[in-house]
Every structure is written in C-alpha cells, then in structure tokens.
Symmetry: C2
Subunit: 329 residues, 2 copies
C-alpha cells in the first residue's frame, strides 16, 4: 500500500500543494484506523524519545539520581533551547558531577526566539546545552553513570544504546531492520508505522503499579503531559497541543515529519509519518487525529494554528486554506 | 498521470523521505523530456516574475523611466531584503517620485542574515522595501505611472494586472483556469507545468532584435542572468546556481516548490513543481536538470549544496545523502 494524501493547501479555490503519509491509531484491541501503509518502515527520529528513556527509568537509574518529572520531560524533549531548558539540563549535569563537555549531541543555535536573539545580538556562541536533544543526552549520561559505561555513550555498541535498542524492539514488537545516526549523533532505530503506534499504545495503557517497564512508561507519559513547555517550547506544536489537551495526552514530533500521540484515558496510541518530511503537514495531521479522538475541538486555537481554515498574506488578505484530504481523519 | 518521485532522502542506508513532482523541459521542437504530469495545473508563484515584468518593458514604460538591467533584475526578484535590494528599490521609487508607502506588497522580516540581525538587534521594524517582492512592485508602479492607473495596482481588474494576465496567457499559450492572491497581494495566474516550460522556452529563444515582446523577454532574461545577487541573495539557490552558470542561464524559484530555468544558448525552458511544496526538493531538482542540460557539473558546489551526496549532523558525522529518484533527471 502506498502513502495516501492527508493534508492539502488550497489557494484561490485551487489545490496548490498536497502532503501524503501513513498513520495508524492503535487501541486496546489493535489497529482501530489506518491510512496509507501501516507496514511502511520509517525512522521515528525524536518521536521515540520516551522509548529511548525507558532504560533510564526501568533500570532504577532515574530513581538513584533522584530525577524529577521535570527532568524526565526534558529527557523526552526536542526542546527549543530556551532559558528553562538550558538551565534545567545544566543543573542536571552538575548534579551528576558532569558538564556540557560530557554531552555528545553537538551544537546548533537554539530555536527559542529570546535565547536566539540574546546569542545573536551579543555575538555569543551556542553550546551543546542549546541542542534540542540535550535533555535526552543528560538522560543517557544518567543511565551511563548507573551502569558504568564509557564516555562515548552514543556509539551503537555502547551499553546505553544496546539497552535503548532492546527496549525499543520489545515495545514496538519488531526487530529493527535498519538503524541510522540521528542529528544528535545517537542511533535511531527503524520500525513500521504500526509498530510505533503499538508502542505508543503500550505507553497509553501502561499501569503505574505494573512491571518496571509499565511503571516507567506511565511515569514518562505523565511527565511529558505535565510539562508541555519543557518537551518543546513557546509556540511549538508539541507544547501547544499538549497544553490544550490539559494533561490528557502526550504528543511528540520527530524530524522528517513524524508525530506520535499517547492517550492514556483511551488506552490509544497514534503514529504518523508524512513521506515528504513536511513538518507543517505532520503537525496538521496529528492535530486532526486528536480532534478525531475527541481530545480537542476543531476550533481550538492550537488546532486552528496547525490546520488553518483561513490563510492570510502579509497584508492580511485571505489567500486560501489548509484542508484534510478526502478520507483522512 | 500523477506526480513521480524525484528527490529522495536517505539515512543509514534506508530511504527516509521522498518528494514527488512534475517537470518539463521544452526545447525548440517542443517537449524534450517530462516527468510526472506535464498537464498538471499549478500556481507558478514567483517563478513567473519575468512574465509579470513583460508589460513593464514591452509597453515602453521601462525605457521611459530609464530603468537599468539592475532594476529589471530586481523586478524579477524574490530578493532577500539585503542592503543592496532595499536601497535599490528605495532609490527606484524615489526616481518615480514615489515612496515605500505606495507599495502594496506588505511587510515581512528580511531573509538576508545581516539585515535581519541589524533589525532584530536594534529592535527596528522592517518595511515594505524588505518584502522579497518589492522590486516586482516597483516595476508595477513604473508601468502604472506610464499607463496612468490608480493607486491600487494589485487589484485583479486594475490595468496593470490586466496587462500582466494578457501577457501571461499569451506566453504560456493557455487561458488561465484559476487565479489566486499571492503572498505579496498581487494576483497569481495558474497554468500547466508544460505551459510554464513553454513560456520559459519563449524567453530562451527570444530575439533581442525581434518583436517588442521578444526584445522584452530577451532583456529580462539577460538582466536576471547578469545580476544573480539581485534576483535572490547571499547563499540562495537562484543566486548561487545562476552565478555558477556564469550568465548562460536564468533560474527562478517560486513559493510552494516551483522552479524554472531559461537557457538561451540551447533555446530551452524548464519548469518543475514539487507537489508537497518542499523547497529543498525543488532546488535539488532544478540543480539536477541544469546538470542534465550540461550547464553545471554534478560536483559544482552550487549543485552539491542542493543535492548533497553526503549529509552530516551537528558533530560532523555522516548521516546519509540526498539522491535523485530512479528515472528522474
């Protein structure tokens, strides 16, 4: 099965651009709805950070380090590198007796407008704390200290990444057919869209009083939903959609237009990938699926911002709109 | 016929994302090569600015105002709002006895890094001169003064836009089935990808000593090719690809992933649209077609930047590459 059209951009009453993709909603009984090819193999990229954080929690490393839910939210984040994100990761590393130089995520300018402006206008250089994955890496370093691994914790055969791969494959219930190096240098393991949705369903249904893995999944989901601003940042889709859901769901984006949702009250997991990697479409699609599942109203500002029923130009003139393709969501 | 895959993004030996589109190469004898659906109807957006500038030149308005090739390059530009662009349009308006307030393009922050930083760090506001279309609008105002139209020159029934529509339909040799309002508030007329390529072939073959329209088309092509930095800006695809072509071709991007090329020495025109609107793919695709036509080497830095044979992450680790889809270019 091939990708199906999901998101359309209209101008002057004519379809101008269209994004196709794959999406799966997995409920307690299995697949409840699917579009495109559920078996399409994708890189989940940052949408799987809560899976990459499972060993951190289930191993006891998080408890041993006394990590808070705020820190676990940062471990699952693709944050904007704002003041709260940078200081949160900096103090976390300091608590571990480590520093920015121990990170292996690399450096990029922060997406946070205020911090980006501060650095730009002061001619200051960003550091690894600004990297959107620095919280995930602080989590890797916390696990690494607990299990006594070496400093190069992003290498494929390092105990930290071996533990991540094992947890990932067990939760998606697939043997990963490919792996790639992510933007932050950590390995990223491929899985099917259905497998990613099934894993998110496991997180949604996880019993806080259950196995070490279930308890870890439940706590990570709660941490993400409780601190939307730490998982992404001001104005970002994950932050605004989770804030609008008021703690009822955790959602997470991944590079190249992947998006997931975890809905504990419905024991439902959602995964989607827009095949062209267009983030505007993955954000619109996850917003539409949250509406379909009854978590948000179509008119909610967090939905309307991603799926604009009216688009205007620089002078405020109406130019067109974004629409769901026929048969999607 | 539907869109065909053109540009692939690979990671860890696996196809991660793919962009599909339509493309046509039109030569002296008609269509020489096509991918996807040549009859697909698209909005050319800013890729048709040289057609929107035809009435300005063929009416004699440009000559009456003593416009230089630099000014005609700005009339065909989606410029970055850098110092040279802003001052060029400001002095042009001043020569007309007009000012920034006479523009109807609206305001957005400039893409030019230096000017963007200057405004951001001085808390200064951008103006309509920074709008990437301000040169096109200065051209509209020059034509408008010549024909004595009213101040609202972007309205569909204004003499300026009626002249633009007539020239557009004559050169694409189609009756435009739709029109939309562009980001800069000017009407944008739909045409087929084949019609856009045919129009670019007319520009490529236009005789400077021929009809008023041919002379206008030839001069606009020469102006674009002669001043790549005015047509876009530092680091931009149009600028770097035209500079690499050393005056042998004019290329122009349009929003939502449209790209055209005019190759006078081959009397060839090229038009393409990536259906998902992904600019990274339209830039890669036009670069590949310029290589196919023998204007650029695959290894040219301007090509490699748009079609990277190696992609690296923040730490310089190789993560994958961009590839042409089988059967394209």
């Amino acid at each position: 099965m091939s990708a199906m059209p999901m998101i359309e951009l209209w101008r002057g009453g004519m379809l101008e651009s269209v994004h196709a993709g794959h999406a799966v909603i997995w409920g307690p009984g299995g697949i409840e709805a699917a579009w495109g090819d559920p078996e399409a193999v994708i890189f989940p990229r940052s949408s799987c950070k809560m899976m990459q954080a499972l060993p951190l929690v289930e191993s006891g490393a998080a408890a041993a380090a006394g990590l808070s839910d705020r820190q676990l939210a940062l471990a699952c984040a693709s944050h904007s590198g704002g003041a709260a994100h940078v200081s949160g990761v900096a103090s976390w590393l300091s608590d571990l007796g480590l520093a920015e130089g121990d990170l292996r995520c690399g450096i990029h300018m922060p997406w946070d407008k205020d911090e980006n402006k501060r650095l730009t206008c002061s001619e200051a250089a960003p550091c690894q704390l600004h990297n959107n994955c620095s919280g995930k890496h602080a989590g890797f370093l916390t696990l690494n200290r607990h299990i006594g691994g070496g400093s190069e914790y992003v290498e494929l055969d390092h105990p930290v990444q071996r533990a991540v791969k094992a947890a990932f494959e067990e939760v998606v219930q697939e043997t990963s057919p490919h792996w790639g190096i992510d933007g932050c240098s950590a390995p990223n393991f491929a899985c099917s869209v259905a497998g990613l949705a099934r894993a998110m369903q496991f997180f949604a249904a996880a019993n806080p009083e259950g196995s070490a893995r279930e308890a870890a999944a439940a706590r990570l989901t709660r941490a993400m939903a409780a601190f939307p601003e730490l998982v992404a940042g001001k104005g970002r889709a994950c932050t605004e959609l989770m804030a609008a859901c008021k703690g009822r769901a955790a959602v997470k984006t991944g590079a190249e237009a992947v998006f997931i949702a975890i809905i504990p009250e419905q024991k439902r997991g959602i995964a989607l990938k827009i095949v062209d990697g267009g983030t505007r479409a993955s954000e619109a699609a996850i917003a539409a699926l949250l509406v379909r599942c009854g978590l948000l109203e179509r008119a909610d500002p967090a939905v309307e911002k991603r799926l604009p029923s009216v688009q205007k130009n620089w002078r405020g003139l109406v130019t067109g709109e974004m629409r769901l393709a026929p048969g999607f969501a």
